[in-house]
Symmetry: C3
Subunit: 314 residues, 3 copies
Amino acid sequence: MKHFTSVHDVGDVHELVALAAQMKAQPRAWESVGKGRSLGLFFFNSSLRTRLSTQRAALNLGMEVTVMDASGGWQLELEDGVVMDGNAAEHIREAAGVLGRYFDLLGVRMFAGLHDRQADYEEHVLRRFLELTGKPVISLESATRHPLQSLADLLTIAQHKAIALPKIVLTWAPHPRALPQAVANSFAEWVLAAGYPLTIAQPEGFELAPQFTEGATLAYDQGEALRGAHFVYVKNWSAYHKYGLTAPQHTDWMITPEKMALTANGKLMHCLPVRRNVVVHEAVLDSAASLVLEQAENRIYAAQAVLYQLLKTL
Amino acid sequence: MKHFTSVHDVGDVHELVALAAQMKAQPRAWESVGKGRSLGLFFFNSSLRTRLSTQRAALNLGMEVTVMDASGGWQLELEDGVVMDGNAAEHIREAAGVLGRYFDLLGVRMFAGLHDRQADYEEHVLRRFLELTGKPVISLESATRHPLQSLADLLTIAQHKAIALPKIVLTWAPHPRALPQAVANSFAEWVLAAGYPLTIAQPEGFELAPQFTEGATLAYDQGEALRGAHFVYVKNWSAYHKYGLTAPQHTDWMITPEKMALTANGKLMHCLPVRRNVVVHEAVLDSAASLVLEQAENRIYAAQAVLYQLLKTL
Amino acid sequence: MKHFTSVHDVGDVHELVALAAQMKAQPRAWESVGKGRSLGLFFFNSSLRTRLSTQRAALNLGMEVTVMDASGGWQLELEDGVVMDGNAAEHIREAAGVLGRYFDLLGVRMFAGLHDRQADYEEHVLRRFLELTGKPVISLESATRHPLQSLADLLTIAQHKAIALPKIVLTWAPHPRALPQAVANSFAEWVLAAGYPLTIAQPEGFELAPQFTEGATLAYDQGEALRGAHFVYVKNWSAYHKYGLTAPQHTDWMITPEKMALTANGKLMHCLPVRRNVVVHEAVLDSAASLVLEQAENRIYAAQAVLYQLLKTL
């Protein structure tokens, strides 16, 4: 593994999940692996879980970790050939080049802008970091994927599944704002790469990009899809086809206790933050079916497994 | 001590002060106590001294410390049953639950809103952290108390008092903005718990909540109160009774050299930041009578004693 | 060396450059020198390279480092005698006094305001930190100088010069905003202190303050100045004489491949961030002549040499 930006960077998904489980069992057992090694984390968007869990992971491995919030004023010019007389004071060529000289490993978060689908799906910003830093790069959520979240989700599923191939349902839910497709895209591709059967339920027009969902069953009747589910992964995303469109009026897509009753004693999953009584009814979140806090905790061990693998390449 | 939110969490106040004095004498003598232990500090309001001194304390004990500024955009929903379709993207149930899974010890700061006295005095936010994190919690100043400041203040008094029971005067002073009562409440309850005589001087209508001042002498004539004082603790607070009311027009309540001359060679104390020539005349702050910088320094050792006690419970 | 605020704090410039080169050759060879020592970095203006490189340097020496961003709300009152009933909640006397009690070494950044030349050139803020903290202070760029940058620049020159006394040209370039003179002032005084010949090219009216340029050759014809240059240091600065005036209309002062062709296979230097195609044409920045990333990397070792020297004084 040279970088960690998607499931395609990973050799054997199940081996990486198993490594994360080992990290969880003994978080401090590898605390000298990262000694004298530095990790720089750059957030062009706000973060709670990713920021804190990746720091915890790095410290568990004995690394030095530096966090930089660039969500405020730091505007980067991304295009070549531009006369930079506007707001952007720095070009990504210099910024990424410098960061590559300051750290052994780099993490970067930049969400989709949701205005230009092609630019988002070509991962303009992440690609430049990969090209320009000369160092292993970890995606802390890019325009189209959130692989640390997906790895934590697979660890959670692995530790809660009662049968080899549980029924996993990824369902769209309403939200007042337009959100990227990254978490949903990424969850789909990791689940499918792991060989689990996946059903994706969404309203008409909210189908994810086909390259992420090949092999999944698409469903438009949420109740039907939930029947017999062992894991219900709920998430809002804005439309891929009518790019960035949202649909908060579909309030009947909220996950409720009644809907959970359709499942096979299914577990609820969500990446957080979650808007209670909009995306999921609070009675579900506060029930024993909810795995959301454990998913968040598993972010530590997902990051720790990834850092461990990348440290080996240095 | 399971948490540190008020003097009521502390067994013997004098023992804790003595422990802080030991920490001050040998800051690095316990540097392996916290090895491999993590402290997360969450600031919903800005901070200079609390942030830096608590970090110093944790590092002196060998802990890993992470600071998160939530004073910007991170709006938490506090109420249950709310349909979260507004500005708050996360509920305190998830936020506190996640933080409890990321750190061994947690510190949290959230000031009084000064709009709803009952909510402030019931410590809604702090209580949720205590209930939901499952970890020892340190108040970094809550709606009604600032116990790390008070412990540092008692250490300062202990190291400067010439007699067993010095006369301590807590006096209101003017300020252009409405400030919480937390520092004053907390100082009063710690001084009284330590068994020192306390006089509290304030204009009519600025009496603190009675539960914090039982056993203190209330005075409305500042000059009379200051007579013979060994320690003058000056602080502005907004009204408890007409909740949140302020009174910057009482400029005659500023502490001046003339007023200090009424004391028994009294020392000046303030928690900082202090507005010069509004709360205290600069000639007093720049005189040998001022202990304000030492109070600020003692914040390190107060925090270090508290962290040490909480680490023992893990 | 008691502080590090200008080249005048340094004994032998070449010795300090040589120490920085040693640090670069073996960054971790002194990792126990700073053990148990703390560095506090205070940024009243934004920072990428200074912040990250100084942190890296401190960690390479085993120090504990804390960064505080004061670029947001933290307004300090600088003047004595003021009635502080405005926006500033804290006076620099208390702020600097407290910081001095929290850290072994302090770094502070505050740029020129560009409104009051006398205040800027008297270094009001930096001076107060020097007077009030009681600890060694490192300038992270002050109103008139950026000595960590200059030391990194001299290291870069030392490692790339082919002859003992290369021709160094500092040239003004256009920029849409009014920038301080600090980088240019500082580069000039360090180059001159090192005994290198220096030519400074600028449009009429953009001469630097004479106290920084004594011994340099001033030129008003940029092409003529660049002829035979071994190092071309390009930088915008606003006017010193008509204080703060800028001149973005001088677009013909941009450094282009054609201008670099006039040099003796000269190297391009810039402190970054750089506005491409405004200050320097991108073809120059992307050519082998550019040393800008190496300068940025050398910031680590410049800071490391300075910290090492200051740690010896504790």
